[in-house]
């Protein structure tokens, strides 16, 4: 059942892939890069910690705790304006460095430097947006997959990340790696632990392939992901 695996190295180190009991270290794959369109913000949860993920006008991804320092409103309900993330509640704007840049109720005020959001260390690699939890890693995220990765889809799965990683044959403790899936070729799979009971599985295809071949290949990989989700959730419900 498990697929052959190309070993991942570097930035997806061992961690409590399935459990939310302790904060893990290292890189976590939050979402597909294609699902973070320029000028948008999305919510995301890793190990029970709510994050706001947004992309500025220059195309850079930012990951902050999902809480406006003003009144605690979720940033992920906000809007990207003028290269900054604006809170939905009172419109306070925070720049890429996390500093408050503008308060609509006091347009002439230069907000103090202490007024800031909490940016985390973010990166984009192999078609995924990543965040580092714990100490800043010495290296960027790495999946061990060489070449261009084309996104397929993400799936929410009602099972611990550990179960999903095991079912697809990722090495214990690894959050991402290449799977050699025979005629579908190399598939990059990345698992995000949402909390103790839920995870997200991100799927991409890697390596050469023309547009049409790619479409059929991606459809097959999407169908496989859906099967896998239903299988793992079924096993989880039976347990």
């Amino acid at each position: 059942m498990a697929e052959r695996v190309q070993p991942a190295h570097g930035g997806a180190p061992a961690g409590e892939t399935g459990e939310g009991a302790t904060r893990g270290d290292g890189w976590y794959p939050l979402m597909l890069s294609m699902d973070l369109e320029p000028g948008t913000v999305a919510g995301c949860t890793v190990l029970g910690r709510d994050l706001a993920v947004w992309r500025d006008a220059d195309g850079r991804a930012h990951v902050w705790d999902d809480r406006c320092p003003h009144r605690g409103m979720r940033f992920s309900l906000g809007v990207v304006r003028a290269g900054a993330l604006a809170c939905l509640y009172h419109g306070w704007r925070f720049g890429p460095d996390g500093r408050c840049a503008h308060i609509p109720a006091h347009p002439d005020l230069s907000p103090p430097a202490t007024l800031r959001a909490a940016p985390l260390v973010a990166a984009e690699q192999d078609g995924l947006v990543w965040v580092a939890l714990g100490d800043t890693p010495a290296h960027g995220p790495a999946t061990g997959v060489a070449g261009q990765c084309v996104p397929v889809r993400s799936l929410a799965i009602g099972a611990p990340a550990r179960q999903v990683a095991q079912a697809i044959g990722l090495p214990a403790g690894s959050r991402a790696g290449g799977l050699d899936r025979d005629i579908d070729g190399l598939v990059l799979a990345a698992v995000l632990p949402v909390d103790r009971a839920r995870c997200m599985l991100h799927l991409l295809v890697a390596g050469p392939g023309g547009a049409d071949a790619d479409r059929d290949r991606r459809r097959r990989v999407a169908a496989w992901g859906q099967d896998l989700r239903d299988r793992v959730e079924g096993a989880e419900a039976a347990a």
């Binding site: 597909l32 699902d35 999305a42 949860t45 397929v152 999407a222």
Partner: protein, 209 residues
């Protein structure tokens, strides 16, 4: 002057479906407010006279009173250039999703009414069923994306998208977030950007950047 009349409740998701479609079509209707919460006017003899089952919304179109969002959307889509495909396959697909919007996805509408207005019902069960319906939509759109379209049917928005949209846009009202539905998020942004899009209470108007 318009011949269209909409019996409407501003907080009702089904009424919003029709208001949204009217706006996307650029059509005006005379609005008649029905006081559902807290008035319970949907059960009054006067309202039952036009909607015997007490169903909202009611659209008066071509001299006929049409009850329920699905029927009203279909009546408005009839004869439009793009909102209702003319080819048999496309039409069948739209019919499929209209049935879905009034069937499995109705759990989402009912869950929202329990969470927002304290109506009686199986809170957790309906929330679970509503989330399961959203997952079916997510799976469909994830595959559509691989075919090169962000819409439910064909290459552009249809009345199916309008029927399905509010349940996802309002899902936070019944405590289902958008994190698990990246394909629906992508679709929602495109809905928000359609010319004539209008919002309702509970849907932030963020899309027009």
């Amino acid at each position: 002057m318009t011949d269209l009349v909409l019996h409407d409740d501003v907080l009702d998701e089904n009424c919003y479906r029709v208001r949204l479609f009217l706006s996307l079509l650029g059509r005006q209707a005379r609005m008649v407010a029905v006081n559902v919460v807290p008035g319970g006017a949907q059960d009054s003899p006067a309202f039952r006279a036009i909607s015997p089952a007490g169903v909202l919304p009611v659209l008066r179109i071509a001299g006929v009173e049409v009850c329920g969002a699905g029927a009203a959307l279909l009546a408005l889509a009839h004869g439009t250039q793009t909102w209702l495909p003319r080819d048999p396959g496309g039409f069948a697909e739209v019919a499929h999703w209209l049935e879905f919007a009034g069937g499995p996805l109705a759990a989402a509408t009912r869950a929202r009414r329990i969470f927002l207005f304290g109506e009686p019902g199986d809170r957790d069960g309906l929330r679970r069923q509503g989330a399961a319906a959203l997952r079916i939509m997510e799976d469909h759109l994830a595959l559509r994306w691989l075919d090169g379209s962000p819409w439910f049917v064909g290459d552009g928005p249809t009345v199916a998208d309008v029927a399905l949209f509010p349940a996802f846009a309002l899902s936070r009202d019944w405590e289902v977030g958008h994190e698990a539905f990246p394909a629906l998020r992508r679709w929602m942004r495109r809905m928000l950007a359609l010319p004539g899009f209008v919002t309702m209470p509970g849907i932030p108007d963020l899309g027009v950047v």
